[in-house]
């Protein structure tokens, strides 16, 4: 287990680090070829409602969104900073893990003012293939679903 756990830690450290550097293509590399990425307001999760803020049920949709972000969308110019708590391995299945990790994301505007932007829980499926770990599914439970300003760059 030790190796696994440290590899999981490293995976989350990379996940946050790459996002905060804006290296979205490298970040996409942390996802499996077949993957899902959803940002779900806790409000909907609690009421059993399916709608999400971001709903990507294929890698294609996730890549489309990243592309749109670069090619078409305009949003507040900012810096993200992810603080991810210790991941918790909820279940270990052959070839995969169910892992949860709490997170807080801060955004700093162009004039250097920071604010808490998001808190929540990553609920992930991680697959081990070719000696490395990648996200097969990432469901982001967003605690503060009254989104401050807008949600552009990935959580």
């Amino acid at each position: 287990m030790n190796f696994d756990r440290l590899a999981v830690y490293e995976l989350f450290a990379e996940y946050g680090g790459l996002l905060d550097e804006g290296k979205y293509d490298a970040w996409l590399g942390l996802f499996a070829d077949e993957c899902q990425y959803h940002v779900v307001p806790r409000e909907n999760h609690q009421q059993g409602l399916p709608a999400a803020l971001i709903y990507c049920d294929s890698r294609a949709m996730l890549e489309d969104r990243i592309r749109a972000l670069g090619e078409a969308n305009k949003y507040n110019i900012h810096t993200d900073r992810h603080i991810i708590g210790l991941p918790r391995i909820v279940a270990a299945a052959p070839g995969g893990l169910r892992v949860e990790a709490p997170f807080a994301v801060y955004q700093t505007d162009q004039e250097g003012e920071a604010r808490l932007f998001a808190t929540g829980l990553y609920r992930d499926q991680i697959e081990a293939a070719g000696g490395r770990l990648r996200f097969r599914e990432k469901v982001i439970l967003l605690d503060n679903f009254a989104v401050p300003s807008l949600l552009a760059t990935p959580l």
């Binding site: 409000e43 999400a52 294609a60 592309r67 078409a72 305009k74 807008l150 949600l151």
Partner: protein, 416 residues
């Protein structure tokens, strides 16, 4: 206090920035508009199907409860205890046979009436309320409730005109079109924008900004100003319907945008489902935004259907509360299609995230000098009327004309 003298133009084509930034004006708006004779969207029948079902909502910044009583009738009332002003119902939604305030456990029925006061007669015959205390005079402040195809509206003014008169034929027709069969709630999303609520109310009426601000629309060919479309209003011009028809401009679109010097290099998506319009009706409408004064918006963008409440949170912030809906009889495929197209709207929406930014930068930059004004004359100034083209912002002047009327600051000789 603000007066009619504030308007530099009689046709509401100039709006002083003061109106977006003054706290006293905000208080007046809450009193004369939101707690006045307007009708506000409260929720859906489908959200409270069973007796005892309730949901918390807002009218302006006043907390309100909507619920269904044992007889199946819908009631709405202000969520403030008649005793010492506490929020009576703290949960956002649920099912209950009555509403009990936690502070002293005064109990209210599903019609908002006060039904019980603990120790009303005291203990050992001592204390409690005076015998002549009139329970019936201390219920929760009621709203009048009306509905259009299951969309619930409420007003705090007992003398407000009937809902159907308030909405008027064109709006009614659109709501009935959108809600022409039983709906299913897919979920909610919320966005807190650091700007005055009226900047958002203008945004939803602003036909001009869509394809210019939301580049995604043009970049990925979802919607263009060159499509056949326009705006329809009620006879007071307080409400507005922005509409457009699909695939009606392949001839001229690219040229027009090129002329305007606006980028329109139609990229394509790996997953086209995101922008694929699946007609659900005889008409070709793929974009309909129905704005009901002051703060309700009904939206169809492609197959993404939503209802928005504009919730003022003080003069400098607004929450956009959006209910995503589909139809009860949607196939699993259509349901998935809507969940995917939900990516288009909301705080993370590919064709809506820009609004949050636009409103915040407008609020910020307009704060410092408040005697300066906006310019609202796309489609020309003068008399306010429907248009069958898309490059205009006429409905904004309609909004302001009714706003001025309710705040009692109409300039003499106003052009409406």
């Amino acid at each position: 206090m603000v007066t009619a003298a504030i308007w530099p133009a009689l046709d509401y084509s100039r709006v002083p920035y003061l109106l977006y930034h003054d706290p006293d004006i905000y208080a007046e708006e809450q009193r004369r508009i939101f707690r006045g004779k307007v009708w506000s969207y409260l929720g859906l029948d489908a959200e409270i199907p069973k007796p005892g079902d309730f949901r918390a909502t807002y009218v302006g910044d006043t907390p309100v409860i909507v619920n269904r009583d044992a007889k199946g009738e819908v009631h709405a009332f202000v969520n403030r205890c008649a005793h010492r002003g506490a929020l009576v119902r703290r949960e956002l939604s649920g099912n209950a046979s009555n509403h009990i305030c936690i502070y002293h456990q005064w109990c209210y029925g599903l019609d908002g009436g006060l039904t019980a006061i603990p120790f009303r007669r005291g203990i050992r015959g001592q204390g409690g309320m005076a015998p002549d205390f009139d329970m019936s005079a201390h219920g929760l402040r009621p709203l009048r409730v009306g509905a259009v195809n299951g969309a619930l509206f409420g007003t705090l003014d007992p003398d407000a005109e009937p809902l159907e008169d308030y909405l008027g034929p064109p709006i009614l027709a659109q709501l009935r079109r959108l809600l022409d069969r039983p709906v299913r709630v897919l979920g909610y999303n919320r966005q807190r924008i650091r700007g005055n609520w009226k900047l958002y109310a203008e945004n939803t009426r602003d036909n001009y900004h869509a394809s210019l601000l939301h580049e995604f629309l043009v970049t990925f060919g979802l919607d263009r100003s060159t499509q056949v479309g326009g705006v329809k209003m009620d006879h007071r011009h307080r409400h507005s319907i922005t509409w457009a028809e699909a695939d009606t401009d392949d001839d001229i679109a690219q040229q027009a945008y090129a002329d305007a010097g606006v980028r329109s290099n139609f990229l394509s998506l790996q997953e086209p489902d995101l922008v694929t319009f699946r007609p659900e009706r005889a008409d070709r409408l793929n974009l309909v935004v129905t704005s009901v004064f002051p703060s309700s918006v009904f939206v169809q963008i492609s197959n993404s259907l939503a209802i928005r409440q504009i919730r003022p949170r003080g003069v400098d912030e607004v929450e956009v509360f959006q209910t995503m809906i589909g139809y009860a009889d949607d196939t699993p495929e259509m349901n998935l299609h809507r969940l995917r197209q939900a990516n288009l709207v909301g705080p993370a929406g590919l064709v809506s995230m820009e609004d949050g930014e636009a409103i915040e930068i407008a609020h910020r930059a307009s704060g410092p000098d408040r005697d300066r004004t906006t310019v609202i004359e796309l489609g020309g100034g003068g008399v306010i009327s429907d248009r069958d083209y898309r490059v205009h912002d006429v409905p904004l002047r309609g909004f302001w004309s009714y706003y001025a009327e309710l705040l009692d600051i109409e300039p003499a000789g106003a052009v409406r």
